[in-house]
């Protein structure tokens, strides 16, 4: 296990470097681009002197570098600072919103991942027969629809017409779990549809790829049934690519939900970020950006590790 341990350390170190670089990149962008928080807030009410006042009040009059390093220092000491616009501490805000987002992603993942893999296996089992074609067709369609469209269609039918599910995800901490689930049923459905296709297709491809190898023939020549061959011999060797794509999609579930949150007025990170971006609330944008990047990086590391663990060559070196 030793090589793996060192590997983890390397990955983590690289990850942290990436994070810092990412934050610098985002900060740089927000600096280069025209307009700033003061302007964004005052809008029509902007007059030179109260712009100046607000800038001073927000500390935007100080040089960019100092601000960035202050922020960085803050982060490293676990303090994300306060939002420029409403003076609320970013940490609590994000804390709340992140929990919402994770809640949504969690359930979406819980449904989509096993479903995707199962469908993938079935598609391989009946390769080029109707179940395969059906599954591929449906998933292809769902991958090809813009997610906001899926969302609206579901809302129209299940909320407006049938009154089965709420049209927007109004959840609050107090709610009992079942109500919360009911509240997020539509967003979860949308997200599931969006990520399902990709994962399923990759699973199918990965397993089919493995099915080309000679040891599958060996297995077949042992007189095993096709399904046994697939899940006992093919699947274990397809884990690495599958995990990679699953992680990619999980990352998407966490960071890619902006649209879904807009449509369902879901109080997640996406909404928060979009508002912050529009209002040029740099500290918030940075915080969100870094968190998203972190999620992506961590999931990637996990993917790497799993693929390593799934590979006996690395698990049991000679």
């Amino acid at each position: 296990m030793h090589p793996i341990l060192t590997l983890v350390v390397q990955r983590l170190a690289l990850g942290i470097l990436l994070l810092i670089a990412a934050s610098a990149l985002i900060f740089g962008l927000t600096e280069i681009l025209p307009g700033d928080a003061a302007q964004a807030i005052l809008g029509q009410a902007a007059t030179e002197e109260n712009l100046a006042n607000l800038r001073a009040e927000m500390g935007l009059d100080r040089p960019a570098l100092t601000r960035y390093f202050e922020w960085l220092g803050g982060i490293l000491t676990g303090d994300m600072g306060n939002a420029l616009t409403n003076k609320l501490p970013i940490a609590d805000q994000i804390g709340k919103r992140m929990s919402y987002t994770l809640f949504l992603s969690f359930w979406a993942a819980l449904i989509s991942v096993p479903l995707a893999i199962l469908l993938g296996l079935i598609a391989v089992r009946y390769q080029n027969r109707w179940p395969d074609k059906l599954i591929s067709g449906v998933t292809l369609a769902s991958i090809s629809l813009p997610e906001f469209m899926i969302a609206y269609i579901l809302v129209f039918f299940f909320a407006v017409k049938l009154f089965w599910a709420p049209s927007f995800a109004n959840i609050s901490p107090g709610m009992p779990l079942l109500e919360q689930l009911h509240a997020i049923s539509l967003p979860v459905a949308v997200l599931t549809l969006v990520v399902l296709a990709h994962m399923m297709r990759m699973t199918r491809a990965a397993i089919l790829n493995v099915m080309q190898s000679a040891y599958i023939e060996t297995a077949e020549l042992k007189g095993l049934t096709t399904f046994t061959v697939i899940y006992r011999h093919a699947f274990p060797n397809a884990i690495a690519p599958i995990v990679t794509v699953v992680m990619l999609n999980l990352a998407y579930l966490v960071v890619g939900v902006v649209v879904v949150e807009v449509v369902f007025a879901y109080p997640g990170m996406g909404q928060y970020l979009v508002d912050a971006v529009v209002k040029r609330d740099v500290p918030v944008v940075l915080a969100c950006g870094v968190i998203f990047a972190a999620v992506y990086i961590v999931l990637n590391i996990i993917a790497d590790l799993v693929s390593i663990l799934a590979n006996p060559r690395l698990r049991h070196p000679k």
Partner: protein, 272 residues
Amino acid sequence: MLKNLPLSAAIGLSFTAIYFLAAIFAPVIAPYGMADVVGDVWEPSSAEHLLGTDQIGRDLLTRMIYGGRTTIWIATLATILSFTTGSVLGFLAAVTGGWFDQVMSRFVDLMMAIPSLILALVILSSIEATVITLIILMGLLDATRVYRLARAVAVDISVMDYVEAAKLRGEKLGWIIFREILPNALSPLVAEMGLRFIFMVLFISTLSFLGIGVQPPLADWGGIVKENKEGINFGIGAALYPAIAIATLAISVNLVADWILNRTTSLKGGRG
């Protein structure tokens, strides 16, 4: 090339062709001017307005045709941009290796660690979204993905004996990249190209939907959905047509991509 063309691919090709032709000849075939208000709001489809009218009484079919034009135009150019930059850099990195490879790959990691939609948000929230800026932005953001693929493919190829043979012969980088590697990397890249094109279409639609994409009166499919979405809750189709268009285009291009992929894999020959 087109011999023994499977049905699915045939359908895909024909649809794709139709859309592209419509895009190219939009001004010719569109029944009305793009921005002309020719009827009442959300008229149902009729003889003079085949798809009815949109939220301020413009002919929807016309909007769809011009919308398709913008969407396809942007998606195509962005795809081309992302592929030329992405694959050339990817090949270079794969062949030369060393620090260039390191720098590029790390940078790409960095770019990919930040969700592209969010980068797009940050950038487009302040620079004006013109067709050009959109193409460049989307193209470059997507180039990172292409780079990864191209590099991976090229790394596999560059260990082939024939590449080694070329190196031993003393060939220059140019020949090795464009004559030895590119032709063999083409098929997977082309297949990927189809998918990336779709993501472009969806991406630009999403941007327009969030209001930071193509700006009116210029129409794109995502934009038309946004303009007409209020109607959805009342079962008004205006918002559905562009969605259907996006979906069908996506599916047909996917079909074509799959077909290319299959052709190339069978070219490598199965297990023997």
